[in-house]
């Protein structure tokens, strides 16, 4: 039998790592990777709880939809990153502050 709490702890670790990446990294692609990690942590929790309450497969279906949304988010996010790189020749989020002035 699979220990479900271990999966929950793993989800917490992965989510904290993704949050840390989003806050500290000074590169837009690293921030996107952090967001992907956080979505992945949510998926781990969904599958773990579906394993615990296995009378239907709602958790797995929900994680499939989370994967689809994550794919859309990555495609649009990378398009925006490429566009910003064409405009400013850099992908550091802190340095793109034209709207602040």
């Amino acid at each position: 039998m699979l220990p479900v709490t271990h999966l929950l702890y793993l989800g917490a670790i992965v989510f904290a790592a993704g949050l840390m990446m989003v806050i500290t990294k000074r590169n837009a692609i690293m921030v996107l990777l952090g967001i992907e990690l956080m979505l992945n942590a949510a998926n781990i929790n969904l599958v773990a709880f579906n394993y615990q309450h296995a009378h239907n497969l709602d958790g797995q279906l929900f994680s499939l939809f989370v994967i689809i949304v994550a794919v859309c988010e990555t495609a649009v996010g990378l398009a925006i990153v490429l566009r910003v790189y064409q405009e400013y020749q850099r992908v550091v989020p802190d340095q793109i502050d034209e709207l602040k002035d």
Binding site: M1, L2, P3, V4, T5, H6, L7, Y9, L10, A12, I13, V14, F15, A16, A17, G18, L19, M20, M21, I23, T24, K25, R26, N27, I29, M30, L33, E36, L37, N40, N43, I44, V47, A48, N50, Q52, H53, A54, H55, L57, Q60, L61, S63, L64, F65, I67, V69, V71, C72, E73, A75, V76, L78, A79, V81, L82, R83, Y85, E87, V92
Partner: protein, 170 residues
């Protein structure tokens, strides 16, 4: 120790180590490779948790699609022939504080809520997960399925339009 629990702990520890290594890695490319390791180990965990369809989808879409997309993004946002970019860290103290406190909060909750409960998973009553998921997608989850298709189409068109748009000043 059975092979089952050995595989479980192996995948779990590898996924956690890869996720933490992503935080400390200075190169975007190495971080993407650690992300691949993390994704594959999590897919292995999904197989062990009787979620084969989610595991295969994870490998196909994440490891096959998203990661290739991110690698293309890394290549297109680097100067040709230059040294690989070292990514700086900002807001380290506040980021570490926020993420560590968030992790402690969730870990305390899990410990308080699930430590004394019997966490034995109930066996799936349907032996064929793929068939059940396919039937659910075509019956009770029909509307979310179609909306997800429309969302994918919109994201595809939007990404193509944003990335190919030439600036007026150039």
């Amino acid at each position: 120790m059975t092979i089952y629990s050995f595989l479980f702990y192996f995948f779990e520890v590898s996924a956690a180590v890869a996720a933490i290594a992503m935080v400390f890695s200075r190169h975007v490319f190495y971080a993407a490779l650690f992300f691949l390791v993390c994704l594959l180990c999590v897919a292995g965990l999904y197989v062990l948790a009787w979620a084969e369809f989610v595991a295969v989808t994870q490998i196909l879409i994440y490891a096959g699609g998203v990661l290739v997309l991110i690698l293309f993004g890394i290549m297109l946002t680097a100067k040709m022939g230059a040294k690989p970019l070292r990514v700086g860290h900002g807001n380290v103290v506040s980021g570490a504080l926020i993420s560590i406190s968030f992790f402690s909060l969730i870990a305390y909750y899990i410990y308080a809520q699930f430590s004394n409960a019997t966490t034995s998973g109930s066996v799936l009553n349907s032996s064929n997960t793929v068939e059940t998921i396919g039937l659910s997608l075509m019956t009770s989850y029909m509307l979310p399925f179609e909306i997800a298709g429309i969302l994918l189409l919109i994201a595809l068109i939007g990404a193509a339009v944003i990335a190919s748009h030439k600036s007026k000043s150039a």
